[in-house]
Amino acid sequence: MIEDFFKRQYSEKQILEGILANNSRVLTFLYDKIFRLAKSEYSHHANFIDMDVIVSMTSDTLRVFTNKVEIGGFVENNYKGFCRNVIRNLLKQELNRKKLILYGDDDEVFDLEDDLESVAAAETLKSAQWSAVLTAFKFLSDDCQKIISSTVLSAKKEALSFKEVGEQMGKSEGAARKFKHDCMRSLKQHVKNNNINLN
């Protein structure tokens, strides 16, 4: 009863609609929910509570979730479960980075692939970073866009091998590989020129 009365309760459908409408009440409600999740997860891993870290983790998680909804990639019907996973991945990254700095050489402590999985799962890019990548991509030549599109795995298609792309573009496998690397370098340079760091 108290819960219903004093905390605005929203169904998952209302939450998703609220995000798409940028409804500050829904977002405040979500922020509070995520803050509690973050605090609880953080307290399992740390000996003391660092409010700054929890607030920042909460903002990142909410941003990841709202971006996911905006992109149309949120297909689950358990937003709390999704947010809990994001928090765990962010926490994992935070702890992994500390471990890497402290115990870099110890294989038992740091697993790069595992860490990168958590980076990919968290999808923490900010709008400025998305914008920089999109602008840089559009800035590339048609051939560069084509080779990157063909070789990067996307949600809608498998990536082609350099041999296959090379055949399509009339290049050898090695030349196709080098061409893509040059395109990626140009893309990264363009992102950097906009003073955007993806980390």
Binding site: F6, R8, L27, T28, G104, V119, K126, S154, A155
Partner: protein, 259 residues
């Protein structure tokens, strides 16, 4: 020819390295934190490109993300401020203890209690749900007087709510159940504006047989705490506990904090 780092990172991320190369590459990453950040950056770039190439992310979506980010930043800064206010007594407990001794010595105990009561209030006060959310079907009666008040409340226009409330109160007769809802949310609006004495006056008008009586009692106790009127707050809280309403546990807990 020596392979450059970017190419190595790309081959690692594309799973194009054999087992030995992967092991060497991992050692390289572990030996230099800046290489690790480059790998993470490249992984993020690939992920972003994959979404852009799929057509899931375009300029319009990025603009919406940007506006959501602004809202989140605003909420976060307000939240942080709230958390700081809550944790301030713990962080500065030594200074607070010293201050307490001085204040006790000077016989001005109420100054310390005031900040303690503010903290208690912040810990227990939760924004009250809109009537629209409590009774979603009510929104259908869009032309009703309650609806017009709730729209103001939903938009957090508490000042407008109160001035409308004063105007309406002076005017025509209002259905008594509507009156209860409007009065109750006027009390909450006063609380949201920090006018707790007026909120107490508002909640006092909610009778035992009225809807929101239990909620009014609870909020009245919180408003009394905020006003440092601890004697009345305790009296209301003890009544809540003895009546065993839904707020009894919270009331017990806050009484423990007050004693």
């Amino acid at each position: 020819m020596m392979e450059n780092l970017e190419d190595k990172i790309e081959r690692f991320l594309n799973n194009e390295m054999d087992v030995n190369e992967v092991a060497d590459f991992k050692n390289l990453v572990k030996s230099d934190y800046s290489i690790y950040t480059s790998v993470v950056e490249a992984a993020k770039l690939n992920k972003a490109l994959s979404q852009i190439i799929s057509g899931n992310v375009d300029q319009a979506k990025i603009e919406k993300m940007q506006s959501l980010e602004k809202t989140i930043e605003k909420i976060a800064s307000e939240y942080k401020l709230k958390q700081t206010k809550r944790s301030r007594p713990a962080v500065k407990w030594v200074a607070a203890a010293a201050l307490a001794v001085i204040i006790l010595f000077l016989g001005k105990v109420y100054l310390l209690d005031g900040s303690r009561y503010d903290t208690l209030y912040s810990e227990y006060y939760k924004p009250v749900n809109s009537f629209f959310n409590l009774e979603p079907n009510f929104k259908l009666k869009d032309t009703s007087l309650v609806s017009s008040f709730m729209k103001l409340y939903d938009n957090q226009n508490f000042s407008e709510y109160i001035s409308k409330y004063y105007n309406v109160s002076k005017g025509a007769k209002i259905d008594s159940s509507d009156q209860t809802i409007i009065s109750f949310y006027a009390g909450v609006s006063f609380m949201e504006k920090g006018e707790h004495k007026k909120a107490v006056g508002q909640f006092k008008n909610i009778k035992k047989s009225d809807r929101f009586y239990n909620e009014s009692q609870w909020l009245m106790a919180l408003s009394c705490i905020k006003e440092d009127d601890i004697k009345n707050a305790k009296y209301i809280l003890e009544t809540i506990v003895s009546n065993g309403t839904d707020y009894a546990d919270e009331a017990k807990s806050i009484l423990n904090d007050l004693n």
